[in-house]
C-alpha cells in the first residue's frame, strides 16, 4: 500500500463514516430521550433511498400507501385512547385528525407530484418528507403504550419493528435494488485523490446537521425539554413536558436523519429493501463506542468505523463485515474496564 491508496481509502472511510455518524447521532438521540435502542434506524435509510428511486421512475412510491395505512392506524389508536381517557368524542376526533394531517398532506403531494417528474432536488425533498412522517407514527403505534417498560422490553419491540419494517419494505418496494443519480456530478482532484461532488455534499450535509442538532439542543426550549426528558422522565413530566410528544418528536428527528442518510448514500451504493439494517448497525457500533450517550463520541466512533471498514475491505474484502462488527468487542472491553461496576436494578 502506498500513500495514494491509503488516502483514497481514508477518504472512502471518512465519507461513509460521515453517514454512520448521522445514524449514530440518531441512535444516541433516541436512546437518551426514550431509552429505546432503535434497531430499525437503518430501515429509514433504505426507505429514503428507495422512495427517491421510485419517484425517479415517475411512479408513486409504495411508502406513500404504507404511510397512509400507518397514519390511519395511529390516528385510530390515538382517538380510541383519548376517548377512553376523557370520554369526549370531539376531542378524541381532533387528536386523531392532528396525527393524520401531516401524513395526509405529504401523501397527497406525492401522489400529485410523482408523475410530473420534477427535478431531483424536489423529489429528494419529497422523499425526506414522506419518510420523516413515519417517525412519530412508528413511535405512536409500537412504542408509546410501552413507554415505561424496561429497556429490555423496548429492545425486543425494536427488533419486532425492524422485522416488520424490513418485510414491509419488501412488500412495497420489491426485491430489486436501486442506485440513485448523484446530486452533484462534479469531480475535484486533490493530489492523488479524486473527490466527487457527492462526497462534498455528504460532508456538508453531515456537518450542517450536526451543527443544527447542537444548536437545537443548546439554544432552543424544545431541545432543552428533550434533554430534560433524557435526564429524568418523571421530573420532566412534572414540569409539563409530555413524554409522549418528546418520544414522537425524537422519532421524527430520527426518521429525518435516516431519510437524509438514505439520500446521501443512495448514489454511492445500490440500495435494496434490506440494505438499511447493516448500514444502520454500523451507525450503531459508532453509538456504542460513544457509550450511547455522547454526540461527539458518536461522531468520532463513526469516522473510526468508516475507516476500519475501508481498510478492512482493502485487505480482506470478504471479511469486511466480520472486522467491523468484531471491533465492538474490544471497544466494550475497554468501556467495561473503565466503567467498573455500573450495573444496578433499573
Amino acid at each position: 500500500m502506498d500513500f495514494s491508496i491509503a488516502s483514497i481509502l481514508m477518504l472512502d472511510g471518512v465519507t461513509n463514516g460521515a453517514i454512520y455518524a448521522l445514524l449514530g447521532l440518531a441512535t444516541v438521540l433516541v436512546f437518551t430521550v426514550t431509552r429505546v435502542i432503535f434497531i430499525p434506524q437503518g430501515e429509514f435509510v433504505a426507505y429514503g433511498a428507495l422512495t427517491l428511486a421510485m419517484l425517479q421512475t415517475g411512479k408513486i412510491p409504495g411508502t406513500v400507501w404504507l404511510l397512509l395505512i400507518m397514519a390511519a392506524l395511529a390516528a385510530l389508536m390515538e382517538g380510541v385512547a383519548r376517548w377512553r381517557h376523557n370520554g369526549n368524542p370531539g376531542r378524541a376526533l381532533k387528536a386523531a385528525l392532528k396525527i393524520l394531517i401531516f401524513p395526509a398532506i405529504v401523501s397527497g403531494l406525492s401522489v400529485w407530484a410523482a408523475p410530473q417528474q420534477f427535478s431531483l432536488w424536489v423529489q429528494a425533498a419529497l422523499s425526506v418528507a414522506i419518510v420523516t412522517a413515519f417517525g412519530p407514527l412508528v413511535y405512536r403505534v409500537a412504542y408509546q403504550s410501552l413507554e415505561s417498560s424496561p429497556p429490555l422490553v423496548l429492545l425486543i419491540v425494536s427488533v419486532g419493528v425492524h422485522f416488520a419494517m424490513t418485510g414491509l419494505g419488501l412488500l412495497f418496494f420489491g426485491a430489486e435494488g436501486f442506485r440513485n443519480p448523484p446530486f452533484w456530478d462534479e469531480r475535484f482532484n486533490l493530489g492523488p485523490v479524486a473527490v466527487s461532488g457527492q462526497t462534498v455534499i455528504i460532508f456538508a450535509v453531515s456537518l450542517a446537521l450536526i451543527v443544527l442538532l447542537w444548536l437545537y439542543f443548546e439554544r432552543s426550549l424544545r431541545g432543552k425539554a428533550l434533554r430534560a426528558t433524557a435526564v429524568n422522565r418523571t421530573g420532566a413530566r412534572l414540569m409539563g413536558i409530555s413524554s409522549h410528544s418528546a418520544g414522537q418528536l425524537t422519532f421524527l428527528m430520527a426518521a429525518f436523519i435516516g431519510a437524509l442518510s438514505g439520500l446521501l448514500i443512495g448514489p454511492t451504493t445500490t440500495v435494496f429493501y434490506d440494505s438499511g439494517f447493516l448500514i444502520g448497525l454500523k451507525g450503531f457500533v459508532a453509538a456504542v463506542i460513544a457509550g450511547l450517550s455522547s454526540y461527539p463520541g458518536a461522531l468520532l466512533g463513526a469516522l473510526f468505523v468508516g475507516i476500519v471498514e475501508a481498510f478492512g475491505a482493502f485487505w480482506a474484502s470478504a471479511f469486511k463485515e466480520v472486522i467491523v462488527f468484531t471491533i465492538i468487542l474490544p471497544v466494550l472491553l475497554v468501556r467495561s474496564l473503565r466503567a467498573g461496576h455500573s450495573d444496578e436494578d433499573h
Partner: protein, 588 residues
C-alpha cells in the same frame, strides 16, 4: 405431587407414546425441529426470563455447535459423540469471552454485543473457505449407536426430546436451589443479592454459559439431523426468532419454551407458503407477521401464552420434608464486650457534597447501637459505607479486628455482617421461605451443576430448616409459603430481618426496621431485638421511631448534615440541647 414433577411426568410419558403412534413422518420431522428449537429457547428462558439478560446471538452458538461437528466429522473422521464435547468446549470459551466483556456493564450492552457477535460470526461462516463459504458443508453422517441409526425419524425424535426433557428437569431443579435463588435475584434485586454474599457477576456469566451450551447441543443435533450445515440457519434473523419463540411462549416459564418453539415453527412454515401465494411474489414476508405479533404480545400478553395456562394450574405449597435435617455450619461469635465494629473517620463525597463527614463510632459485642438524626443527616449513607454497598472516599472500618474497608458488599457479608434495607428488597414471586433462605447463601456450598443433578438435597433441607427456624423466631411461622410480594409492609420488613438472621451474623444492621409497622408489631420487634441481644447479638439500628430507639438502644450516635453531632446513652442524648436543636430548631 408437585406440579413441576407432574408436567415432567406427562412429557416423559408423551415421548414414547408419540414415537409409537402411527403419526405421519411429516409430523415427526416437525416435532424434531420443535424439540431442537425448544432446546435453544430453554436457554433463553433461564437467561432472559429468569436472569433478565438478553441475547440475540443464540443462533450463533447453535452455529458453532453445528459447524464444529460438521467440520470435525468430515475432515478428521471423529465420532460425533466426541465432537459434541469439542463443540461445547468451543462454544463455552466464546461465550465466556463475550460474557466477560459485556456483563460487567449495564443490561443493554449484552444484547448489543450479541447482535454484533451474531453478525460477524455469520459473515465469518459464510466467507471461510474451510467451512464451504455460503454453501456450507454437506455429507454429514446420521447419529448412530453401533449399527443402529438414531439420527432420523422416530429414534431422533426420542433422542431430541429426551435431551430436552433432561434439560427442562435440570433447569427446574436449578431454579429451586441455592444457586437458583441467586440467579432469580439477578433481575431487579442484585443489590440485595450482593449484600447476602452472592457474586452476581459470576451467576450472570453462568447463565449465559448454560444458555450457550444448550444452543450448542441444539446445533450438534441439527447438523446430524439435516446432514448439512450452512450459515443461513445461524444468522441474526434466526437468533431473533429464537427470542421471539421464547417471548411468545412465555419467557418466564420452562414450558413456554416448548410452546413458543412449536407455535412459531408451525406458523413460520405455514406463512412461508401462504404469504407469497397471497401476495403473488416470493419473499420472506412472514417477518412482517412476526414483527407485528411480537409487539402485540409484549403489549397485551407480556408473560406469553403459557401464562394463560399457568393461571389455571394449581400451585401446591412446598412439601415440608426437612424436619430431620441437620444444622448449617455456624460461625464463632465474639465474646460479650469484645469490639465488633470500629468505624474510623469514614467520609463520602458525591462531587462537591460531603454526605458523610469523618464519622467515627464503635460497637461492642452484645450492644444495640442506634444511629439517629434528622432526615438527610447521612444515616443511610453511613450504613451503606459500612456494609460496602457504597465505596468510601476515605476512612477505615474494622470488623472484629479485621480491616474490611476495601471489601465489596458480598465480601463483608461473608465476614458475618448482615443487613436489611430501608426500602424492602426481595424477590416478590418467591415464597417467604425461599426469600429468607437466600440469607443462608454464604453458609452453603452447592453449585450450579450439583443443583441441576439434585445432589444438593441435604444442604437444601438444612437451609429450609434454618429459614423456617428464623421465620418462627421472628413470629412469621404462618407465612412460610406465602408469596413474598403479597405480604403487607410490616411482615415484609420482618422477613428481611429473618433473612439477615439466616446468615448467622455477628453484627446485624437494621435500616428503619419499624417503619410501616403497627403498634403491636413494634412491640413484637422490640421483643425480638431484646431476645437477640440476650443471645449475644450486636445490632446497629437506623430508626426514626424515638420510643423504640430509646427503649432498646444501649448507645446512640446522632448525626446531622453528615457530621457526628454527639453520642452517648439514651439518657444523655435526651438531655442534650444540641440534639434538641437539631430536631426541633433553636429558640431565637
Amino acid at each position: 405431587m408437585k406440579i413441576k414433577n407432574f408436567a415432567l411426568l406427562v412429557l416423559a410419558i408423551a415421548i414414547p407414546v408419540l414415537a409409537l403412534l402411527p403419526l405421519p413422518d411429516f409430523w415427526i420431522v416437525q416435532l424434531n425441529y420443535i424439540g431442537l428449537y425448544a432446546l435453544v429457547c430453554l436457554g433463553l428462558v433461564l437467561l432472559t426470563g429468569v436472569g433478565g439478560l438478553t441475547s440475540f446471538g443464540q443462533a450463533a452458538f447453535v452455529g458453532i455447535g453445528a459447524y464444529t461437528t460438521a467440520w470435525l466429522t468430515l475432515n478428521t473422521g471423529m465420532s460425533p459423540w466426541l465432537t459434541l464435547f469439542v463443540g461445547l468446549a468451543i462454544t463455552g470459551a466464546s461465550a465466556l469471552i463475550v460474557a466477560a466483556i459485556t456483563l460487567r456493564m449495564s443490561g443493554h450492552y449484552l444484547p448489543l454485543a450479541t447482535i454484533a457477535w451474531g453478525l460477524s460470526l455469520y459473515y465469518l461462516m459464510g466467507n471461510l473457505a474451510a467451512l464451504g463459504k455460503y454453501d456450507g458443508l454437506q455429507g454429514l453422517k446420521s447419529l448412530s449407536i453401533g449399527s443402529l441409526d438414531i439420527g432420523q425419524g422416530r429414534w431422533f425424535f426420542v433422542l431430541t426430546w429426551v435431551i430436552l426433557l433432561a434439560g427442562a428437569t435440570a433447569l427446574l431443579n436449578l431454579l429451586d436451589s441455592r444457586p437458583g435463588r441467586a440467579i432469580r435475584s439477578l433481575k431487579g434485586a442484585s443489590q440485595m443479592a450482593e449484600a447476602m454474599g452472592i457474586n452476581t457477576f459470576r451467576y450472570k456469566v453462568s447463565i449465559f454459559l448454560i444458555a450457550a451450551l444448550l444452543a450448542s447441543i441444539g446445533g450438534w443435533l441439527l447438523a446430524h439431523f439435516q446432514l448439512t450445515v450452512n450459515p443461513s440457519a445461524f444468522g441474526l434473523k434466526m437468533g431473533i426468532e429464537y427470542l421471539f419463540m421464547t417471548v411468545v411462549g412465555g419467557i418466564g416459564y420452562v414450558w413456554g419454551a416448548i410452546v413458543g418453539a412449536g407455535l412459531i415453527k408451525l406458523l413460520d412454515d405455514y406463512l412461508q407458503v401462504a404469504l407469497p401465494a397471497l401476495i403473488g411474489t416470493s419473499g420472506s414476508y412472514e417477518v412482517i407477521v412476526f414483527g407485528v405479533a411480537i409487539v402485540l404480545v409484549l403489549k397485551y400478553l407480556p408473560d406469553g401464552l403459557w401464562s394463560l395456562v399457568a393461571r389455571y394450574l394449581p400451585s401446591a405449597p412446598r412439601r415440608v420434608d426437612w424436619q430431620d435435617a441437620g444444622n448449617l455450619p455456624s460461625r464463632s461469635k465474639p465474646a460479650r464486650g469484645e469490639s465488633v465494629l470500629k468505624v474510623d473517620k469514614i467520609r463520602k463525597q458525591f462531587g462537591g457534597l460531603t454526605a458523610v463527614n469523618d464519622i467515627s463510632f464503635q460497637i461492642d459485642a452484645g450492644q444495640i447501637v442506634g444511629l439517629i438524626g434528622p432526615n438527610g443527616a447521612g444515616k443511610s449513607t453511613t450504613f451503606n459505607l459500612i456494609t460496602g454497598t457504597l465505596s468510601k472516599t476515605r476512612g477505615q472500618v474494622l470488623f472484629r479486628g479485621q480491616d474490611i474497608s476495601s471489601l465489596p458488599a458480598r465480601g463483608i457479608a461473608r465476614q458475618g455482617m448482615a443487613r436489611t434495607f430501608q426500602h424492602v428488597k426481595m424477590i416478590p414471586d418467591m415464597t417467604v421461605l425461599e426469600n429468607v433462605a437466600m440469607g443462608a447463601y454464604t453458609r452453603g456450598h452447592s453449585g450450579v451443576i450439583g443443583a441441576m443433578l439434585r445432589i444438593n438435597k441435604a444442604e437444601e433441607h438444612r437451609m429450609m430448616k434454618e429459614a423456617q427456624r428464623q421465620l418462627e423466631r421472628i413470629g412469621m411461622g404462618e407465612h412460610l409459603h406465602e408469596q413474598a410480594g403479597n405480604l403487607a409492609m410490616g411482615p415484609q420488613r420482618l422477613m428481611e430481618i429473618a433473612r439477615a438472621l439466616c446468615s448467622d451474623p455477628a453484627l446485624l444492621l437494621l435500616d428503619e426496621p419499624a417503619a410501616g409497622l403497627r403498634h403491636k408489631e413494634k412491640q413484637d420487634l422490640i421483643q425480638v431485638l431484646r431476645q437477640l441481644q440476650s443471645e449475644g447479638m450486636s445490632i446497629l439500628l437506623v430508626e426514626h421511631d424515638m420510643d423504640l430507639v430509646m427503649d432498646v438502644c444501649d448507645h446512640l450516635v446522632v448525626m446531622e448534615f453528615g457530621t457526628l453531632l454527639t453520642q452517648g446513652t439514651p439518657e444523655e442524648i435526651q438531655a442534650s440541647p444540641a440534639v434538641r436543636a437539631a430536631y426541633l430548631g433553636t429558640e431565637h
